[in-house]
Amino acid sequence: MTSDLTRARIRSAWLFLAPMLLVLALVAAWPLARTFYFSLTDAELSRFGDYGFIGLENFLAESRGVTYGILADPLWWVAVKNTLLFALVSVFFETVFGVIIALVLNASFPGRALMRAAVLIPWAIPTVVSAKMWAWMLHDQFGIVNDALLRLGLISAPVAWLASSDLALWSVVAVDVWKTTPFVALMVLAALQMLPRDCYEAARVDGIHPVRVFFHVTLPLIKPALIVAVIFRLLDAMRVFDIVYIMTGNAEATMTMSVYARQQFVDFQDVGFGSAASTLLFAAIALLTVIYLMATRADLGGRAR
């Protein structure tokens, strides 16, 4: 009897899942599979639908002693290097700033609620708007950043933040840090607010320095949440497109893997080659996702009902 009920319940569960699964199959599984397939073809945007299978030639091939394909394209490797630098440096600073802001928000002071709300603002501003705002502030002739630095005597001539190939990537990183630090801060704050209060009382009674308390008590306790936030942010940073594309276009100095793939696909109309680049990016992120899922699996298992 009970098992009949259970069986009926499981059947209805699948019925409720079906529409969502169908839509996900249509908008996620199918396009992804097609992208994988296109990566093995010579498809082009101008004659979409008329293409032939060419195997792995988009990735790497040799013809009369010349190697070609993505893996032989120096620009691809520039994009890989830029993406990794972008992800690692921006996530590092986001984490440091995020933890500092979370610690401040966790202290009790008048106006804390207001500040907590203010922290959400950069997160709420559309990426396109953040990118444009900062591009304007970093403008080499009319930008306020150069003006302020000149007034303070920190620089003697205006700096071309976004045009100089040495600085452009770091300028974009700075904007990404500004935009996503609130997210890390909120994650860390959520973890901080779940910490037991008694060990802090004990530490205060013993007169242990707050910095020591942070590194020996707080940090180990919030580590799991921090790791999840960091991996989450890393996955996000690896696929960065908007901020880079809007601030510097297809410039080589800042080109990331997503920008490279889209340039091949849209600007050069090379669907096959672009899809191959996308496939490589997907593989890189899938690998990171597996690590992420392994890091959070314990939590999932523990919460199963």
């Binding site: 529409p19 396109v128 708007v129 705002m133 304007w136 502030m137 306020i144 908007d242």
Partner: protein, 275 residues
């Protein structure tokens, strides 16, 4: 004395953080309210209140239409995600069945897809369905990130509901459909509002698909319209217009976020930390 110094240090830190987080938007507002060539004079305090940039954004291009497009797409995406997500969250959050964890992990995996990885496949789908340069292409493609996220967050909230009400309803002979619509839906309203808002923000801000799947000015959404505001040449960008457009579409969003901030934080942490 050291206490005083410590207090001053703390407030200095608070001020520095607030300045860092808020100054860029303040400067965007400042720029948007300048007229003509004054835009190119750096100033730190408001010098004038000129709304001509705002007027120009709406008269020189179909910006009102772009806002309407964004609203239509975002509302459609939210409605679809919530209605599909609610049923799925019931199944994933309240029913025990084989393969549930695998399914949850797969859905989480989908939300990690780099957008570019589905770009060419999605482009083919959009063209195949005859939706190129049609707002429906955006509604369809945005589901790839709003749906997994909605399912995930609603499942988290669904799990935390007490079991007693459900058991009582089942004893009364409630069918699963009645259970979802009459018992869980009213209990989940706060979660639905949170998830809906987060999905709305994601859809409102999306850039890559909107840039690739629409072609004409009148079909563009707000982010693409702002990104493509151009002047006479590469070096004559109308920064006043760009900042006015930026402020116009950001102020409502900021107000929304401030009003719902507690809920949004709950939703964000449910979506990430526990996921």
């Amino acid at each position: 004395m050291t206490r005083l110094l410590k207090g001053a240090g703390f407030w200095l830190l608070v001020a520095a953080i607030l300045f860092y987080l808020l100054f860029p938007f303040y400067y965007a507002v400042l720029t948007s309210l300048k007229s003509g060539s004054a835009v190119f004079q750096v100033s730190y305090w408001p010098t004038e209140l000129d709304f001509s940039n705002y007027v120009r954004v709406f008269t020189e291009q179909p910006f009102a239409r772009n806002i309407l497009n964004s609203l239509l797409v975002s509302f459609a995406v939210v409605a679809l995600s919530l209605s599909l997500g609610l049923g799925a969250a019931f199944a994933l959050g309240r029913v025990r069945f084989r393969g549930r964890s695998t399914l949850l992990l797969t859905i989480l995996g989908v939300s990690m897809f780099p957008q570019v990885a589905v770009l060419s496949g999605m482009f083919e789908l959009v063209r195949g369905l005859g939706l190129y340069n049609n707002l429906l292409s955006l509604v369809l493609s945005y589901l790839i990130f709003t749906l997994p996220f909605t399912v995930w967050v609603l499942t988290t909230f669904m799990r935390n509901l007490p079991g007693e009400i459900e058991e009582a309803a089942i004893l009364e002979g409630a069918t699963p459909f009645v259970l979802v619509t009459r018992i869980f839906l009213p209990l989940l309203w706060p979660a639905m509002v949170t998830t809906g808002l987060l999905a709305f923000i994601v859809a409102w801000n999306e850039f890559l698909f909107a840039l690739t799947f629409t072609l004409t000015n009148t079909q563009r959404t707000v982010p693409v319209a702002i990104a493509l505001i151009t002047g006479g040449s590469e070096h004559e960008l109308p920064w006043g217009n760009i900042m006015a457009a930026s402020v116009t579409v950001t102020v409502p969003l900021i107000l929304l976020v401030l009003v719902f901030q507690r809920r949004l934080v709950a939703g964000l942490t449910a979506g990430a930390v526990k996921g």
